[in-house]
């Protein structure tokens, strides 16, 4: 499956300034690992020591928080958009 990954400004120094990149993988976790393999250094930014997402990183698939689905195991359909977004935002 090919997915489009939206990169927040904080990580764009690692993606040559690109705000969107296209990658393959069957699940959200696979796509993000592919992201790290392609743009080295992103993995340590978004994953914690045990391979889960860092506390302050939110990941959305097709605008839905993956924690409401199967987390990093959520299957990805062809052409879907994955967004990496800093968790710290907002306040009513």
């Amino acid at each position: 499956m090919n997915a489009i990954v939206r990169i927040p400004s904080q990580l764009r120094e690692l993606t040559d300034g690109q705000g969107e990149v296209s990658l393959s993988g069957a699940t959200v976790g696979e796509v993000l690992k592919e992201l790290d393999a392609t743009y080295h250094g992103i993995g340590e930014r978004i994953f914690d020591g045990s391979g889960g997402l860092r506390r302050f990183v939110n990941v959305f698939l097709a605008d839905e928080d993956v924690r409401f689905m199967e987390g990093l195991d959520t299957p990805v359909e062809d052409g879907q958009v994955i967004s990496i977004i800093p968790a710290v935002a907002g306040g009513s």
């Binding site: 939206r6 990183v57 924690r67 710290v88 907002g90 306040g91």
Partner: protein, 413 residues
């Protein structure tokens, strides 16, 4: 910017310049404003504060955007009401209410926006934006109109009618988004990456904006004669206000304005229909599980609270609790507050009072404690919530006989 040294990451400590940045590039942790407390302590006394403006800007040295930059002189220094009638009903001997319903746009959000827009001006922005559940929308739209900023306010489409009208009237851009607050917030977080020219008050200006809530603690301490209460009850949405109230008390001690190190128990109030932080408190969890909100307390309907973790940690460390109440209890809380103290609060105030009632009944809030409950928004904004629950006592034709027939006790004297 007065005594502000820099921004620093709350998680990993990396230091950043005091610009429009809100998360650490490395670990995505939240950035916090770092002050030169020695400088503040050397120049700030109870007397200098007392001689300052009758607004949040009297605490300018401890706020970003101050002391010279304060955009408005009307926000803050709201009444701390000794609530003896409500206290008597709840069995509490020393109860105060911090009445933020009387701020310029009717909620505590005037505090954070006054600070955020002062910083936006210092940093040279001409456009401001926010994601809001309504109160922030009101404040951003109004303060932007006054200060001459272009504004872009994003709200969930199902907000209370009054909150939509009281934002749109100021003439800025109001974008109604087909989703809940968390959807709006995600959209704004993404927009921030594409619009570095916009000051998103609760995204890229968040480190400064959030500091405005410290003024609630500053005022309470000053209004209590430079003492702190034993226990406070604070509504929890993103969790930012609660953590900043705790920080406010600590800073007063740090700069020498309080004689003793404050030991304030801090309890949080949520609606059962959106209680991710209270749920984590009760289960003992260390992570906040996001929820899909379903409550009449729309100003607290944040299912994925940015500061939820810090609010949880603050409550636990202070010896407080987090509690949640149903929509029915929220309406009863609004009625109780209005009936006993003459204050009409929005649904979030109903949450706070209903939780206070619950905690007083269970003995968590002790009868002799000096308690302050934060009532942070005006009831006129959420009239729908009580519309079906309150009505005229009777409806009569305009005649003396009709009145006597309908209300014999009052008519006979």
């Amino acid at each position: 910017m007065n005594a502000i040294k820099s921004l620093s990451c709350r998680e990993c400590g990396r230091v950043y310049p005091a610009e429009a940045l809100h998360v650490c590039d490395f670990c995505f942790g939240p950035l916090e404003v770092a002050y030169d407390y020695e400088q503040i302590a050397s120049s700030t006394t109870r007397e200098t504060i007392a001689a300052g403006p009758r607004s949040v800007w009297r605490y300018g040295p401890l706020l970003p955007g101050g002391p010279a930059g304060g955009l408005d002189e009307e926000t803050g220094l709201t009444p701390l009401v000794k609530a003896d009638r409500l206290g008597a009903e709840l069995g509490l001997k020393s109860l105060w209410l911090k009445n933020d319903t009387v701020n310029p746009t009717g909620s505590f959000k005037d505090r954070v926006v006054s600070v955020a827009l002062s910083v936006a001006r210092e940093l040279g922005f001409s456009a401001v934006a926010c994601a809001s559940t309504g109160n922030l929308a009101n404040a951003v739209a109004a303060h932007s109109a006054r200060a001459g900023f272009r504004s872009y306010v994003f709200i969930p489409h199902d907000l209370e009618m009054a909150k939509v009208a009281t934002t749109a009237i100021y003439g800025g851009n109001l974008i109604s988004v087909e989703g809940n607050y968390d959807d709006v917030n995600r959209l704004c977080a993404e927009l921030t990456s594409e619009h570095p020219d916009w000051a998103f008050v609760n995204v890229n200006l968040r480190p400064y904006y959030a500091e405005g809530s410290k003024s609630l603690a500053f005022e309470v301490a000053e209004q209590l004669g430079w003492e702190v209460p034993d226990h406070v009850v604070v509504p929890v949405a993103s969790g930012s206000q609660l953590t900043k109230i705790a920080k406010g008390f600590e800073e007063l001690y740090r700069v020498g304005l309080l004689a003793d190190e404050p030991a304030v128990r801090i309890s949080g109030a949520q609606a059962l229909g959106c209680s991710p932080v209270a749920d984590a408190f009760k289960s003992g969890a260390d992570a906040i599980r996001p929820v899909k909100p379903q409550t009449i307390a729309k100003s607290l309907a944040i299912g994925n609270p940015a500061d939820g973790w810090y609010a949880l940690e603050t409550v636990r460390k202070s010896g407080g609790v987090l509690e949640a109440v149903s929509d029915g209890e929220i309406v009863e809380g609004m009625k109780l507050l209005a009936r006993t103290e003459g204050i009409f609060a929005e649904t979030a105030g109903g949450v706070t009072i209903a939780v206070l009632e619950k905690l007083a009944a269970s003995g968590v809030v002790k009868p002799g404690e000096r308690v302050v409950a934060f009532v942070t928004g005006n009831g006129l904004k959420t009239v729908e919530a009580v519309a079906g629950h309150v009505q005229p006592t009777v409806t009569i034709p305009p005649s003396m006989d009709a009145f006597a027939a309908a209300m014999p006790a009052a008519a006979s004297r």
